[in-house]
Symmetry: C2
Subunit: 475 residues, 2 copies
Amino acid sequence: VVLILEITVVLNSQSNEPLYFQLYSFLQKEIVDGRLGPDTKLPSKRKLASHLSISQTTVETAYQQLLAEGYVKSEPRKGLFVTDLQTDLLSVVKENPLNRDMYTQVHPTNPIKVDFAHGKIALNEFPFSTWRKLTIQSLYEEESHLLLSGHRQGDLPLRIEIAKYLYQSRGVCCEPDQILIGAGTQYMVSFLTMLIGRERTYSMENPGFHRSREAFKDQGVKLLGIELDQDGIKVEDLRKSGASVTYVTPSHQFPMGMVMPISRRMELLAWAHETESYIIEDDYDGEFRFTGKPIPSLQGLDQHGRVVYLGTFSKSLIPSLRISFMVLPPTLLTLYQNRYSIYKQTVSRLHQQTLYLFMKEGHWNRHLQKMRTTYRRKQATLLSLLSEKLGKQVTVIGVDSGLHILLEVHKQMTESELVNLAEKHGVKVYPTSVYYSSFDQHYTPKILLGYGGLTEKEMELGVELLKKAWEIRAE
Amino acid sequence: VVLILEITVVLNSQSNEPLYFQLYSFLQKEIVDGRLGPDTKLPSKRKLASHLSISQTTVETAYQQLLAEGYVKSEPRKGLFVTDLQTDLLSVVKENPLNRDMYTQVHPTNPIKVDFAHGKIALNEFPFSTWRKLTIQSLYEEESHLLLSGHRQGDLPLRIEIAKYLYQSRGVCCEPDQILIGAGTQYMVSFLTMLIGRERTYSMENPGFHRSREAFKDQGVKLLGIELDQDGIKVEDLRKSGASVTYVTPSHQFPMGMVMPISRRMELLAWAHETESYIIEDDYDGEFRFTGKPIPSLQGLDQHGRVVYLGTFSKSLIPSLRISFMVLPPTLLTLYQNRYSIYKQTVSRLHQQTLYLFMKEGHWNRHLQKMRTTYRRKQATLLSLLSEKLGKQVTVIGVDSGLHILLEVHKQMTESELVNLAEKHGVKVYPTSVYYSSFDQHYTPKILLGYGGLTEKEMELGVELLKKAWEIRAE
């Protein structure tokens, strides 16, 4: 039995909501609440329009919306009927929980006077006006073609510039075709587990870069930590481990700071060649070597295509740009091209174009040169402050390269005591133990000090505060 | 027995290479080639400097570099000795293979006159001067703080704007805290398998979005294809499959184009609630619904926290920006915050800030409104062209929403015949069968036509060419 209803609804023509939408909302609610039950026939457009003194188009639009959303169904030559909706389920339509007042940004009062965070860089040295000029130039070029998706590996002009730079400065030998640009090192690491395969056993330096370690683990691969000696990862241990992929930071081991000497590099490459393993070489701050020229990369020494080189512009340019890249050896490149070419590029083309111009016009080399001097000076300042104020009570480790050093404090204090005492005195320093994948009972507390983003004044205050915090006496 | 050598080397003070580097290179080569064998003692700085008539500092710098790279080692109070390098391995030091001439960009002559690609959008409608103005404004703000890494989920102001927009336009109810910004849908899909867990069985619509399908597979999860009926994914089949995660495109099924009616939505949500499964709702072009207002999202209907909502600015703004986002339900949000907070944000802060201003100042809503009209008009044009020129020889599918339609051609031709004939006549159209995860013997050839990036003229030419290609007669 089909019941034909007369519907009465108050429509407000002064409202912000269009009439059709008011009508639609009313009917939708009637259906949801069950007052218009399953198989109820809606009045014809003509009838309802005349009854409500509105146009047939308005009714038509409301009906179309109900139809589109499935609240009613159409039976040819018969009309529109209410759908059976299992109304108990429909009571779930929610109210808006969004309370915007909760999200006014809060800036907590920060009692920290000096922060030796290792991720900070010297932004004030960044050639901002040049970068801005090139961004604006790219914006105008963008109008034509840069709005569309670009090449999946990143735009070729930028890859050519990166290849040139890598060869000249890092001893990396590659074709632009081997370069894959992407949004950050963690993205690259995740992508690599897919490319190299999750069935292999992975390994990395222990201690090592925590963000990469977590990325490997989260990809569900078996990951072993390999101990270091003074030259870096112990290849002998690597051999015994059975791993067939290893992740290393040979330019400036993170966090210990040693530079892998050539003999260890050759040993590591020999291992990879003999066991058909892959080496992932993360050159995260290889540009900032302070004594002599940068050391040639593993990639440049490798003749058997066993090295994946990872680089980033986060340390040397701007962290917020999110531009990293990797250089794939031929086997992985072929695999990528055949099997994984469906993945789109993750970096904005505007930034790619800007960086391309920045490199091509020589700003990049000049900037690097300048930053090397800046950081060398900063490090020298920090080292002399430490020596002057803390003297023989501390030992400094890992000074050849990079934007951080380690400190061993010769006091009978645990790492967390050292960190907490410093924080109480308004200076933030960082533990090194967090970079270990397993507990080592012979571990000596080591404090990590980043200095890339600090001024001389801040470093001076910071070291002064550390002296107080750790109660180090003048000698 | 230690042999003390006299070294003779020709240094060129007119060269671009610094003297220390020439000396370093010479010694390094002597060591690598084995002419300076293991344990050879290098002459003292003083001696060599005087012998070569150069400064001691130059020798010192060259020695330091050799030391740093491990070619020599220092023995306290004895001097520097050549390291045992296993010289056979060292012959691997490579020459530069980079041939830059190969990489001048090639633009192949393209015989295609009209391309019905579905990824294209109407770029000429983009409010470019506004976007450029806001980018430049952001560039100036960037100088202060935007250069540093931002919030891992994306900057809060942008997340607040996205939450407001989602509520108003898509019926998505969420706190800005639940939003995670990231570099593209495939990145999000990969990230989600990590978050939801790779031990679950995944499923998705069949046919379905190929880029997501590959991303799921590449994450190593078990992935099942679930058949569609006229309302979208068959929940009955989903129940039987044993999957506990499903990926759907309810606003405009990709590629079939149906809009999932409310009854099917409720059924799907009930399944997720009862089986504690997750629904990944990809609203890839949900903004472009042409009849009536957009349909509320699954996320907005869900009361049990079983839906992850995925959105992107690629279709509605600029593909090359690479900004997507997802809305996590509370359980996954907690897991993310506790366990995966180590992952850095992948989207440039400059673009986040620009998009924030674009949304806040109302340009986004205006732009969407305009694009909806534009695409509606384009679709209407295409439909009338198809009806006029191809008449009853074709059936059009999936016209309620989105930027593409499907065409069934009533000729005894396979899909690839249709595609190839079109290409021969200078018009690129796309197969639909590629979106199926398994072969279906009842499959009817369907041609996919995207129209977002085409002008009326181009569409007219395109349809005209299709008519010729497929030998469709006027009726």
